[in-house]
């Protein structure tokens, strides 16, 4: 428990630092007053505006105010859309979440069994084929793969729609496009593109860890104890591979959240990635800062979850022996 409390404490400090960077963007990239008012505003009016916006306060006070607002979900108003930034993120978030979930679940479902299999039968024909595919998955750039998929499945075969997000439906109070056939058919290709890369990385990691663990004394002893292969591989070996694998999965999934930009662009997916592209194009500083903090939050939370899983997996961490 102590371990987790310490991690939560550290995570809070990390988030404060991220917020500081987000806050500093305002300080250094242009004068917010200039971007709010027109040419004809008098110096006195500008000064009054500056005072009422609190821009003359000490910088620490401004930072504290920014953090307090951010915690309440208030990131200011977008310059280019003139809308609440948090509202815009809330609009776009579900699309990205469903894409990440779909591709994450797909890649885990494929990578874990394939990783274990290639770890155990590393010389077999099937294992070699899987490894070859995973190399392709890791090395093909996602935009190229996306365009190829569109060419094959949308243009030639005309099976799947080539862009956009499909119809929405509500199930158990959650509104998502994954609950309709149309929505699924829209999400399938972008999810597959995101999945293939994750798949390669996670699969190779699980395989390498399996090879490592299968050489250890306690696995040799498990064989000598007369345990059947199923138990040795799944009961003893797999669990011991999980700590590094969970770390990698956590990092991979959070980077999906933050940086699925190219895939979203290729498939015209209305998610966070396309929002970021727009914000950069328009120098929309409130939006950029909020995005930065959002990405920081996703990474911090996923690392926190990973740490919590460590504690569940490894008793030595639970007892502070490591």
């Amino acid at each position: 428990m102590y371990f987790l409390l310490a991690r939560v404490f550290q995570a809070t400090i990390v988030m404060l630092c991220v917020a500081l960077v987000g806050f500093l963007v305002f300080q250094f990239v242009g004068d917010p007053v200039l971007s709010l008012v027109g040419q004809e505003t008098t110096v006195e009016d500008r000064e009054a505006l500056r005072e009422s916006l609190g821009l003359n306060d000490p910088i620490l006070v401004q930072y504290a105010r920014y953090v307090v607002n951010a915690v309440q979900g208030d990131f200011g108003i977008s310059y280019s859309f003139n809308r609440d930034v948090s509202e815009m993120i809330a609009d776009r978030l579900p699309a990205t979440v469903e894409l990440v979930l779909l591709s994450g679940v797909l890649s885990l479902l494929l990578a874990i069994p394939a990783g274990i299999y290639t770890g155990i039968r590393r010389k077999g024909g099937i294992a070699q084929t899987i490894m070859a595919i995973s190399v392709i998955g890791v090395s093909i750039p996602s935009f190229l793969l996306g365009i190829l998929l569109i060419l094959v499945f949308s243009v030639w075969l005309n099976w799947l729609p080539s862009f956009g997000r499909g119809d929405l439906a509500t199930m158990l109070g959650v509104r998502s496009s994954l609950f309709t056939w149309d929505g699924l058919s829209h999400a399938l290709m972008p999810a597959a593109v995101l999945c293939l890369f994750q798949l390669g990385v996670i699969l190779r990691l699980i395989r390498a860890e399996m090879l490592e663990v299968l050489r250890t004394d306690y696995i040799r002893f498990a064989w000598a104890r007369g345990l059947p292969g199923k138990r040795v591989y799944f009961g003893h070996a797999l669990k011991n591979t999980l700590v590094p694998v969970v770390t990698a999965i956590g990092l991979q999934l959070s980077s999906l959240f933050a940086f699925s930009i190219i895939t979203e662009l290729v498939f015209q997916w209305p998610g966070m990635g396309s929002l970021l592209l727009h914000a950069i194009g328009q120098s929309d500083i409130p939006l950029l800062a909020a995005y930065l903090i959002f990405v920081g939050l996703v990474f911090t939370i996923s690392n926190l979850v990973v740490d919590a899983i460590y504690v569940l997996i490894d008793p030595r961490i639970r007892h502070g022996a490591l």
Partner: protein, 558 residues
Amino acid sequence: MSHILCETKDLKITFPHRLGDFTAVHGFDLQVRRGEIVGLIGESGAGKSTVGNAIMGLLSHPGQVSGGRIELEGENLVDLPDAAKARMRGRRIGMIFQDPMTSLNPLMTVGGQLAESIAVLQNIPKAQARRMAIERLAGVGIAEPANRMDQYPHEFSGGMRQRVVIALAMAGDPDLLIADEPTTALDVSVQKQVLDLIKSICVERSLGVILVTHDMGVIAETADRVYVMRHGALVETGPTAQVIQTPSERYTKELIAAIPSIERREERFRNPVKKTGEIDQWLLQGHKDKGSGDYVTASALTKDFATKKKSFWGKAGTFRAVDIPGLIIKRGEVLGLVGESGSGKSTLGRMMTGLLPPSSGEVAYGDHGILAEVRSRAARKALRRDVQVVFQDPYSSLNSRMRVDQILAEPIRFHGLADRHDIPRLVGALLERVGLPAEAGRKFPHQFSGGQRQRICIARALSVRPRFLLCDEPTSALDVSIQADMLALLMELRRSLGLTMLFVSHDLAVVRQVSDRVAVMKRGEIVECREAEALYDAPKSSYTRMLLDTAPRATRRQ
């Protein structure tokens, strides 16, 4: 005599390799009866573990039995299909490995692993297996077994873990137990308890035991009969007492002669033949003072290590690893430092050489003054030149990316001890001085055996003309015959060069051979520090007596 339980007949084991097959074992015959402990002894590479693994059907890839038979109650195991071999493991043959620290799955409770084995091997439901597991833990001498069931391996000490490993190996009530170096990683006092446990199980269940080890002392204390192996073949076999007292083969004689005795200091180590190489003149240069007196003095020395915090707001605790009022090493003396693992002997050695700063107290050198007050660059450099270390593991203490001559030349160059053109000649002479050919310098460390590497480590330490040498378990990683050579070399160098030495080891017999005085450590404190011979012959502290009594010995004084 009861009938034979397990037998190997003309056993051949081959490891196929693209440059030609390597035959690890050729034509080995062994017999085990019920209720009998058979010792299998040999040095590293003798093939003794390979025989054990082959009987178990767990030869490491790509090894295979290429000839002969392995019979268990008349049934040939070699021809069995893999599935049948797997069914035999645990049920008919149990095995325990060397290192109890790594033999258990760290993520599963001890009880969970034991109950799992019992449930699988005896084909009974989990709840019943769990009840049996508690009985079995009690049976191997684990106190409060019901409570300890739900603990993880890291909460057990080494000896306790090895007891758990034995319970696991016995979970399927096998007829034969193969114990591969079961006590090598344990302290002597714990070693004796574990061996006693194996002996009592062997008698109670009329179990056949094959005890694989490199330690003649363990064999002498435990085995009924012994097989001596070398280069994958049998050298000699017979009842243990007969083989040890009247060995008939030359190799066995040498092997037994090489074992340092805990009973007496042998003449060859006490008065080594003094040699003088051409290099000795160079090595002795700059050593003007030949005086007596104290070389290193430690006073009120302590070392604390921080322990993990117990709670979020709690303070980190400290663990006092070393706490001694004082320790003196006289000029030209060898001080032996013995103790069990965790006694703080290595920590003390590292503080005495300045490798580790003490938490309080000070270390002073006769030539340099108080260590902490040697501040100037030049003075520190001179101090470091005088104090050198030979570490335990010769495999990890040499930079594997450097050639041996580079390894030896570097310190000479750094301290500016010789002209650049003379260095290659000096390096060659140094290698010859420690018993290696001068051409060895052109090779890399991995091309040498463990004993040769330790010679390189000694040459490296000598290359800066030191006055004081810390030897931290210098022979623990070596075979016994090489250990004897290494001790002889160290003693000869010490006599020829007048070195002062601190010799740290857990092996009481080795320490007796080399030390003038011995300090015994227990939990960070020195319990006894006296002249070596007096201490060994009449130990004053009960702890020293316990250590001496539990140390296994190949030959007992009649």
